[in-house]
């Protein structure tokens, strides 16, 4: 289904991304998926001559993830997006919008996470 998928840890991420750059890979994008527990899958997609390489890390929701934008500049927008929508603590993005690239001040935090929203009844007769 997904060609050339390599599972790594977040400690190995920067070294593996550097290797991709050295090998001539183009950065395509990054995908994050909430696994429904306390972890998030982050998949980094690269391409060379239409062949893809995918690096997958699984991190805890409060875990720090290093930014790859120092290696691939074009990763800066998608990293800001993941940081805002999934609340992943990505550190060292070259242009960090501080959580407000897409969301305004009034927005709920991390809207793409699977959150259980409970609506409480404010008294009165039902």
């Amino acid at each position: 289904m997904i060609e050339n998928l390599v599972e790594i840890t977040s400690d190995q991420l920067l070294a593996e991304v550097q290797k991709c750059k050295y090998d001539g890979y183009r950065f395509v994008t990054t995908t994050s998926v909430d696994n429904g527990d306390d972890t998030i899958d982050i998949v980094y997609h690269f391409d060379i001559d239409y062949k893809m390489k995918n690096l997958k890390i699984t991190v805890k929701k409060d875990e720090e993830v290093p930014s790859i934008s120092k290696v691939y500049v074009s990763a800066l927008l998608v990293e800001n997006e993941i940081k805002e929508l999934f609340g992943v603590n990505i550190t060292g993005i070259i242009v960090d919008y501080g959580g407000h690239m897409l969301l305004s001040e009034e927005e709920l935090g991390s809207p793409m996470l699977r959150q259980q929203i409970t609506i409480e009844k404010r008294g009165g007769n039902s």
Binding site: M1, I2, T29, T31, V33, V73, V78, L102, L103
Partner: protein, 359 residues
């Protein structure tokens, strides 16, 4: 010299989409550019988690009207791969015909906006007059002009009759004749060239460094086109990516203009080769389970769909990366060093689609 910040957008006459860029200026020269997006973020990726996977075809079409056929095509291809559905050859060719019609109307729209941006009103009207002909074909064959909903999981929702195909050939031939008339103005007119040549140069090295995609990459000499991977029926058609080596606004105009001829050729090839058969196969079995990546070439470049199914009717995740999202860093590279007067040209020639970028 002290610098001044000039706000460009979020609404601007040449770009009717909400993109705001803070231009840091020294005199008339731009030294830095900071983009602000988020004005039309609609949370469509989140919406797809609450809809059934069959309904999502209609959701992804509404990410962007101009490339709606390709969005649905990429999504359907991903689901078909997850569920091991083999679509008929006829459906593959039908998808190509509608996709190339969409590419034509997208490029015509862009050429018209470009003409409008450099103040050539009659050229703008002539270009959009031809776009109307493409829209009329779509209305006649699919029932609507922009979001035509022709793709479905298992094939296409409609078929084309022989008469309709004959009419498509006649119309695209007419369009080709009209385009030859306006081509000379776009590519050879002194005033037009003065606005385009040497403006906003993105070198091949920078295009690779900033991971540029689509016509923008091809205008910088990178022969990258997802259609050459042979998805749908493209593997059975004869074509080469159109490239230019200068990487300036003129090169980007050249590539998009020539791609209209290429689309006309591909439509005619597809109509000549289309086999008889069913246009849709009914699918059965369990809902999709597993991860898949599907990539398609849109008018603006490569789009990527990442789908994760969990075996229920709802997907765990639908992630899409659109071409404009990939091209904004290249725009930020091109802006510093340019003149303020060239900013509308520069932003326009990346063919930005902000509703795609923010989804």
């Amino acid at each position: 010299m002290s610098s001044t910040i000039v706000p460009f957008g979020p609404q601007h006459p040449v770009l009717p989409e909400p993109l705001h860029i803070k231009l840091v200026m020294e005199d008339e020269k731009i030294v830095d550019a900071i983009p602000a997006i988020g004005y039309v973020h609609r949370g469509l990726e989140k919406l797809t988690e609450t809809k059934e996977f069959t309904q999502n075809t209609f959701v992804v079409e509404r990410v962007c009207g101009i490339c709606s056929v390709m969005h649905a095509m990429a999504y359907c291809q991903g689901i078909e791969e997850l569920m091991n559905i083999e679509i008929s050859d006829r459906a593959k060719f039908l998808r190509v015909i509608w996709a190339e019609l969409h590419r034509m109307h997208s490029h015509f729209l862009w050429l018209g906006l470009l003409a409008d941006a450099f103040g050539f009103e009659s050229l703008f009207m002539q270009t959009w007059r031809d776009r109307e002909k493409v829209m009329d074909i779509m209305e006649e064959t699919a029932g609507s002009r922009v979001v035509i909903s022709c793709n479905t999981i298992g094939g296409t929702r409609r078929d084309l009759t022989k008469e309709q195909m004959a009419k498509i050939i006649t119309t695209v031939d007419e369009i080709k004749h009209d385009l030859e008339q306006v081509e000379a103005v776009f590519l050879n007119n002194y005033t037009v060239k003065h606005r385009l040549v040497g403006v906003g140069v993105l070198t091949k090295a920078d295009a690779i460094e900033y991971c540029t995609v689509g016509p923008m990459a091809r205008a910088s000499g990178i022969a990258m086109d997802m259609r050459t991977t042979g998805y749908s029926a493209y593997g059975q058609l004869d074509f080469e990516p159109i490239t230019h080596n200068d990487g300036d606004c003129y090169a980007r105009t050249y590539v998009r203009l020539k791609e209209i001829y290429q689309s006309i050729d591909l439509i005619k090839q597809a109509i000549a080769k289309i086999p008889e058969g069913e246009h849709v196969v009914p699918f059965k079995g369990f809902p999709p389970k597993g991860d898949v990546i599907s990539r398609v070439e849109q008018p603006r470049g490569e789009v990527l769909y990442y789908l994760r199914g969990n075996g229920t009717k709802n997907l765990d995740r639908l992630r899409l990366r659109t071409p404009t999202f990939a091209n904004i860093p290249s725009l930020l590279k091109m802006l510093p060093g340019s003149q303020l007067a060239d900013v509308p040209m520069l932003i326009l020639t990346i063919d930005p689609c902000i509703s795609c970028t923010e989804r």
